[in-house]
């Protein structure tokens, strides 16, 4: 319907209103703004500031739209090589971190018993003195658990902790510790390569959630789009192998479910067929060691153990080895078992077999950024964190410091990590939010939100880049940059530590690092000019990437089997816990936009649920939305059931991220944290928590739950994506 404004006036006969309507040239000034329909509002003038997103550890470049001193919108920075102008849901929602009503607004000191949650505001002067005097009271007694902060902050933290003989642990709950360990063994390289998905023609993924939460989701999202439709005549094919049809698996051409923990064995079977059928690209004399590995188990045994039919294994092997550019990747469910590292090495072996190292569409190690002063922040294993219990128990350590880490929420209670908090003589948190761990602190010295502060972030892997962040808005609260705090503590302690950290504030330190760095990278350019340019660009990266070659290429010696906790008879189900798009491992739970972001597979918002294969549910007589109890040898949780056709019949799955006992009004007391079900099992080689190694059983409660589904298609009226109406299956 084409309705011209003039017609509208005629229809209503309100000629007198004519001069009030926009579209009458020259009259618009007189209008009350609210009477202008949106399509005729003149957009206001905005400023844009470049920075780096800190909502996960990928380090996407961002541009923030600021109007009248307030941040309005975050977009991807088109120049940044990691995300090339794109952004994910979490990055979009970072503004709800900045403007979160539950941010800690000033330094706080505990009142009442620890963990009671009563705090009283104190001055910064008092807060810093209390912290520094505790540092002095326990020389060599400090442990700091920080999220990985590769860049200047990492250098500051490491220097500081070294000088006070403390211990610094970078902890990443969704850590790719297994992948790191497997690559270290397979390639002798301690960094992540670029998995060149964009140029692959056949992608074989063992459980890797690369479209939701693996390494660098936006980066690999871009690559995925290119793999599918970015090349004129080639469409890359993609097969996902995992026990649960994840959001990533949904995009695959084929989903191959298998028994949890047997991914390495399946890789062995695929390799075996490839080797037998002779479609390999191996150096001369290299064949025998592959024969040794692949000769260990028969194909029939593999088919029986993995529960992947023999024909499917042969098909996968042929498709993979016949492809022009095959690529195998592993992660997620495949790596969250006690044999995770071993499994990923077996996946790496497939790449070695088809010789895709350094090839387009294969695994490529890119030359890292050189010369950024001591800035790495390699995460430690979960096991290293757990080992802290001993050093606190025998009083080797007494002071616990936390920076944007929430181990009391992310680690299962079965690990008894809480003992560290109990044993610590004093706990300081520098977090911006009252998460579960911060709520146990004795002293809280809140940091600025990242959009209010200076910072840099070194991304590694396929896109080495030094992202640079500046304050895009004036800090809202009485908070202080954590870097400033550490520098002022160094000053108060004095002596060598002050000599090592002579800067007055973090910004000066940051500029100094960049001065050294830029003098090497862009010699001849005055720093003042180079610095402004970098700030506008959002950092520094090389125009093109240089490959580095990899010499070590060992294979796994054998394929290990995964160990599970819980007797099979008593606990008949496997358990898969997955990160949701928005909430991650709980970090996103205090942002209403992310709480109201529907889970793509179930459309659930604002809560937890349990996914069960409909056939299994029927066997148990369970109705959809009924509350069930999920019980493991270590704990139990209750949540409503959603039928999930993408689960193996012997698999229960649940989303991570809810069930907070603190963390602000949007997160607290909502849903359940299924981590409490987990056994304290870790991957043997890397010490990473084996999230998939606990078996469970379910019990009916007979109660009906109220999961909130926002499914617009409705049951019974689901259309196929092609637009035809079809009755429900």
């Amino acid at each position: 319907m084409d309705l011209k404004r003039r017609d509208f006036l005629k229809v209503l006969g309100v000629t007198a209103a004519g001069s009030l309507l926009p579209g009458c040239a020259g009259e618009t000034k007189k209008l009350i703004p609210y009477v202008i329909p949106d399509e005729e509002i003149i957009p206001g003038v905005a400023d844009w500031y470049a920075s780096v997103c800190r909502e996960c550890d990928a380090g996407c470049g961002i541009l923030v739209r600021v109007m009248e001193g307030r941040a309005k919108k975050v977009e991807g920075n088109p120049a940044h090589p990691v995300n090339r102008g794109k952004l994910c849901a979490k990055g979009q929602a970072s503004l709800q971190g900045l403007y979160n009503p539950d941010r800690i607004q000033e330094p706080l000191q505990r009142e009442g018993a620890r963990g009671e949650g009563r705090f009283r505001p104190i001055s910064w002067e008092d807060g810093i003195s209390r912290w520094v005097s505790t540092l002095e009271k326990y020389p060599g007694g400090a442990v700091m658990i920080s999220r990985p902060v590769p860049g200047t902050l990492s250098r500051l933290f490491s220097t500081f902790m070294k000088e006070i003989s403390g211990r610094l642990l970078f902890y990443d709950p969704s850590g790719e510790g297994t992948l790191q360990a497997a690559n270290r063994r397979s390639f002798g390289v301690d960094r992540f390569p670029e998995y060149d998905i964009a140029n692959a023609t056949y992608l074989l993924s063992f459980g890797t959630p690369f479209l939701s939460d693996w390494l660098s989701p936006v980066h690999y999202g871009l690559a995925y789009g290119e793999m599918r439709q970015g090349r004129p005549a080639v469409r890359g094919r993609f097969v996902q192998i995992e026990p649960r049809l994840s959001m990533t698996a949904a995009s695959a051409d084929r989903w191959v479910p298998l028994r949890p923990g047997t991914e390495g064995l399946l890789a062995l079977g695929i390799g075996q067929v490839i080797l037998k059928e002779g479609r390999v690209r191996l150096a001369q004399g290299d064949r025998s060691r592959f024969e040794k590995l692949y000769g260990t188990v028969s194909l029939d045994q593999i088919a029986a153990k993995t529960e992947v039919p023999r024909e499917e294994i042969i098909r996968l092997a042929r498709e993979f080895s016949e492809a022009a550019a095959p690529l195998a990747i592993g992660g997620g469910t495949a790596s969250s078992q006690t044999n995770g590292t071993n499994t990923l090495m077996a996946v790496n072996a497939l790449n070695l077999l088809v010789g895709n190292l350094g090839e387009s569409g294969g695994i490529r190690f890119i030359e890292p950024l050189q010369g950024f002063p001591a800035a790495a922040a390699t995460p430690v294993s979960d096991q290293a964190l757990l080992n802290l219990k001993d050093s606190f128990k025998n009083k080797k350590r007494s002071l616990l410091m936390l920076y944007q880490s929430n181990p009391l929420y992310t680690l299962p209670p079965s690990t008894h990590f809480g003992e560290v908090f109990d044993q610590a003589a004093f706990t300081v948190s520098f977090s911006s939010f009252m998460d579960e761990s911060t709520a146990m602190a004795d002293l809280i010295l809140p940091d600025h939100f990242f959009l209010e502060a200076w910072g840099d972030f070194l991304s590694d892997g396929g896109t080495p880049a030094a992202g640079l962040g500046q304050p895009v808005v004036i800090p809202r609260n009485n908070t202080r940059p954590v870097g400033d705090l550490f520098l002022s503590a160094a000053k108060r302690i004095g002596g060598n530590i002050e000599k090592q950290l002579p800067w007055t504030d973090f910004r000066t330190m940051l500029e100094d690092q960049w001065k050294t760095f830029l003098a090497r990278e862009v010699p001849g350019q005055p720093f003042e000019i180079a610095w402004i340019e970098r700030l506008q660009q959002g950092g520094w990266w090389k125009p093109e990437q240089r490959l580095i070659s990899v010499s070590r290429r060992p294979l796994p010696e054998s394929i290990e089997s995964a160990q599970f906790e819980g007797d099979e008879k008593q606990f008949p189900f496997y358990l898969t816990l997955f990160e949701s798009m928005g909430l991650q491992r709980g970090e996103g739970a205090n942002r209403p936009w992310l709480q109201e972001l529907p889970d793509p597979a179930t459309t659930v918002v604002w809560g937890s649920w349990v996914e069960i294969n409909p056939r299994t549910a029927r066997q148990y007589g369970i109705q959809e939305r009924e509350i069930v109890r999920v019980i493991s040898p270590y704990g139990e949780v209750e949540a409503p059931v959603i039928f999930f056709p993408g689960n193996r019949p012997d698999l229960i799955s649940m989303p991570l991220g809810q069930g907070h006992t603190a963390y602000g009004r949007y997160a607290k007391g909502r849903g359940v944290n299924p981590v409490i079900l987990l056994a304290p099992l870790v991957d043997r080689d890397s010490g990473t928590l084996a999230m998939g190694a606990t078996r469970v059983r379910i019990e009916r409660t007979g109660r009906r739950g109220k999961p909130v589904l926002v499914d617009q298609t409705g049951e019974g009226t689901r259309r196929s994506p092609e637009g035809r109406r079809r009755s429900e299956t």
Partner: protein
């Protein structure tokens, strides 16, 4: 009085905005969903209202389960206002709050809307969302609100505008410079964020725009096009 229609009509005829959505790229990551909320001041409904089916998403990802284990399949499809060329929502509005702009947008004049919801009932894509209450943002979340976009009050119908504020901004710049808007110059919030570049926006009147070219793809179809709504959005089927 200047003809309203001429206002945005550049030399060579008015624009016809449209979108192409490539289902072979879309992964269901929902970056578009949050981007749209942030850009367009879409209210936060909360658990209570969401449970009554009153949550607002100008763009949403529909999911379709097909088959049973082990052949289960899950497909995603972004659905937003299709800016129908022959829009069922428009003629039913008694106060002409829903109308069509000359450049092919289905527009909603909020302050004219009286909230009878006929348009919502008549939209076959169920992409119109009603504000049952005045919106609320816990302070200081409201500081994020985009001043270029009206905050809709209770009793008003709302939906995707193709980010008209961005379209108008780019059109004014182009007009001042005496040229047509260039292809790719306008990116609605969802398009800009989408990591896989599944969404493409542009002028269907320009035969050389990406949208015009992509929509001729053999994979192309329009949603429920048998209803004769003439959607401005072309979907590209997932390739085999």
């Amino acid at each position: 009085m200047v003809d309203y229609r001429d206002q945005n009509a550049p030399p060579g005829g008015p624009y016809q905005w449209g979108m192409v959505i490539d289902l072979d790229r879309c992964t269901g990551c929902e970056a578009c969903v949050v981007a749209c909320r942030a850009e367009n001041n879409v209210r936060i409904s909360g658990e209570e209202e969401a449970s009554k089916g009153r949550a607002n998403y100008w763009i949403r990802i529909e999911r379709y389960w097909e088959g049973e284990y082990p052949n289960a399949q899950l497909k995603f499809m972004p659905v937003l206002c299709q800016h129908c060329g022959s829009a069922p929502c428009e003629p039913v509005c008694p106060v002409y709050a829903a109308y069509h702009t000359p450049d092919g947008l289905n527009a909603q004049v909020y302050n004219r809307c009286v909230g009878v919801r006929y348009c919502g009932n008549n939209c076959p894509y169920t992409v119109r969302y009603f504000n049952w209450f005045d919106p609320h943002w816990d302070e200081p979340l409201n500081e994020q609100l985009n001043p270029d976009v009206t905050v809709r009050s209770g009793g008003v119908m709302e939906k995707c505008t193709f980010c008209v504020q961005r379209i108008r901004g780019a059109q004014r710049t182009a007009q001042k410079e005496g040229r047509r808007v260039k292809d790719g110059e306008i990116t609605p919030a969802c398009v800009q964020s989408c990591p896989t570049e599944a969404l493409v926006f542009g002028d269907r009147n320009d035969p050389n725009s990406r949208v015009s070219k992509l929509k001729e793809s053999r994979r192309g179809f329009r949603l429920l096009e048998e209803l004769g709504t003439e959607p401005a959005i072309t979907y590209l089927k997932k390739a085999e």
